[in-house]
């Protein structure tokens, strides 16, 4: 699914990612943990194609194709989805109209006709029920005045609508109360299949009780310094990140 080789990336000449290697296979859930400033969100943005990050070295291979030169929308068309840590407010565009545009532009890129209106409505109904989203919510302006929980739920709703191959959830648990966390995690779990993969980026272990990872990686100072199974997350929760720093001699 995804293979990242020796990825170096910088922003405004400041090196942030310093040689990331990561392989994610279909059906897997990978968690990336690490202290603040270690490069977690940068990694997510670089995979999704944010232009302000400069890839200096290395490659990002999605299903056998190097996507490093592709625009954000082209990556989205190939099945990359980023759930934003801070979803952007877009006044004047409703959630529904935004989703219609996103889906039909993606279909257009694949040479498909627009989705028929009744099919679109059915899909919206089905996916909003999955995320326990009220219908009224869908006619509100995108993210405008949404609570933290509503924003995150809306991100996963978008993910459900777009059915990505590779979903990257960037700090999806931040700002969520326990009920919202359960709904969001439940949504993510229901969307999992043997053909798609999920990368969960999180600072805390809490989310991983709900979305159970197959692998856990620790990102520190722009490198993956330790990888393991879900037990590693528990260890980090109990002991903090300092022992890792000591272990790698940082």
């Amino acid at each position: 699914m995804l293979k990242i080789n020796n990825l170096h990336a910088s922003v405004e000449d400041k090196a942030i990612l310093k040689g990331i290697n990561l392989e994610v296979k279909p059906g897997e859930v990978h968690a990336i943990m690490g202290p603040n400033g270690s490069g977690k969100s940068t990694l997510a943005s670089v995979i999704a194609g944010k232009e302000e990050y400069e890839v200096e070295e290395g490659e990002i291979i999605l299903n056998g194709e190097d996507i490093e030169e592709l625009s954000a929308e082209e990556r989205a068309h190939k099945g990359v989805f980023l759930s934003f840590q801070y979803p952007v407010e877009i006044p004047g565009v409703t959630v529904t109209n935004f989703m219609k545009t996103a889906i039909n532009e993606t279909r257009k890129a694949k040479g498909l006709e627009d989705m028929p209106a009744n099919e679109m409505l059915k899909l919206i109904r089905e996916k909003s029920e999955l995320l326990e989203i009220d219908r009224k919510f869908l006619s509100r302006s995108l993210n405008e005045g949404f609570s933290g929980g509503e924003k995150k739920r809306n991100e996963i709703f978008q993910m459900a609508m777009l059915e990505p191959k590779l979903a990257i959830l960037d700090e999806t648990d931040s700002g969520l109360d326990i009920d919202a966390l359960r709904i969001v995690a439940n949504g993510v779990n229901k969307l999992k299949s043997k053909d798609n993969a999920t990368i969960v980026i999180t600072h805390y272990q809490r989310l991983l009780d709900y979305i159970v990872p197959d692998y856990v990686h620790v990102l520190y100072n722009g490198r993956i310094v330790k990888s393991g199974t879900k037990e590693l997350a528990h260890e980090l929760e109990a002991k903090g990140y300092d022992w890792i720093k000591e272990e790698i001699g940082a």
């Binding site: 943005s45 999704a48 194609g49 944010k50 232009e51 302000e52 625009s71 954000a72 929308e73 990556r75 989205a76 068309h77 990359v80 989805f81 980023l82 934003f84 979803p87 952007v88 877009i90 006044p91 004047g92 565009v93 529904t96 109209n97 935004f98 219609k100 545009t101 996103a102 889906i103 039909n104 532009e105 993606t106 890129a109 627009d114 978008q158 777009l162």
Partner: protein
Amino acid sequence: MDLKEKLVSSFMAFENTVNVDSSVHDIRVDAIKNFEAVGFPTKKQEAWKYTSLNSVLKNDFSVFPKETGALDYKDVKQYFIHDIDSYKIIFIDGKYSSHLSATTHDGIDVCLMSAALNKPKYKLVIDNYFNKIATKDGLSSLNTAFSAEGAYIHIPKNKVVEKPIQIIHFSTGNEAALMLQPRNLIVVGENSHVQIIERHQSLTDNPTLTNSVTEIFANKRAIVDYYKIQNDKQSASLIDNTFINQKQESIAKVHTFSFGGKLTRNNLNFYQNGERIDSTMKGITIIGDKQHVDHNTLVHHIEPNCESHQDYKGIFDANSTGVFNGKVVVEKEAQKTNAFQANNNILVSDKATINTKPQLEIFADDVKCSHGCTIGQLDESAMFYLRSRGIPEKEARGLLMYAFSNNVLDSVTIPEIKSRITKLIAQKLGVNIGFDL
């Protein structure tokens, strides 16, 4: 001979075409004298600092069209709001087209200025209202001197006019270059409600200059909803001088949609003569090429407890230039005034320019006045958000610009206008936004 001399010397010939045995005759004579003294505005005047008429005035305009062009409705239908039942006052090259119009005298007068200026039964209204609020600046004086034709709308009291009124001026290119001086008078009686749509449309690449004056009187508790659709050809320029006098508790709203034309200047003036008056001015400007749009607004708060709201959005591409000059005057007696003004702009191109200037003159001490203007580019994080969902760059830009401007449409009360304008916005932004606007 320059245009000013030509106009002044044409006045005698003009006088032979109109009835000089009326009170309006003296007004015209005074006006041409005033125009001769004042002339066209220049960039030396503060209010014209960023708009030069030179490139427009250098054309050798015909002042009186020799012959009137004919138009088939099917050829110009697209310029009408055609999916609603409406009254229509239509002009072709400055002359009334009975063929395209639908006027009425059934309880209200929706007809022609030429009739109102000549027939005795309108004399009282003309004496009371004609040229009472138009200012004595050069352009308004010029229009007054040559005032002969335009729309005359008189709504007596307690009438809610269900059908909107469309005023459309077409120019056909029968003349190599044509100057038009349409003159409109709109009097709305107590408790009455009227909706008006105005459009100037050139059908030719020959230069056209329209210098229009509209006087609107909103009596007590009257509601006036006015829409100006400006989407003209690159050969056409428009100077729109609109004056609105409001009496107590009246509501007047003017929406100006400026999407095209070589040079467009909107002089929009509100005078509040009464308490608890509401004046609203909204505008969306989306231009490119070498187009120029200048909004010059004035709200004169004269009495207490009144409100004014201004909200102008502008998107400027290529070498286009925009001007917003919004003046709010609050007289000493006008306590408890609420005056809001906002002008937000996006410059799409490095070569586009906007000059925005709020001007507040407040002499009362218990008022709420706010103004804000912004000039910016599109938010890059919003662009990335949209693109990461598969929306290509061009469409994402279009969507964000649409979102930026479309709240101005919230106050549009005619759904057909709202849908027409949203379609025009999408077209101007060059995007097919994937949902029904």
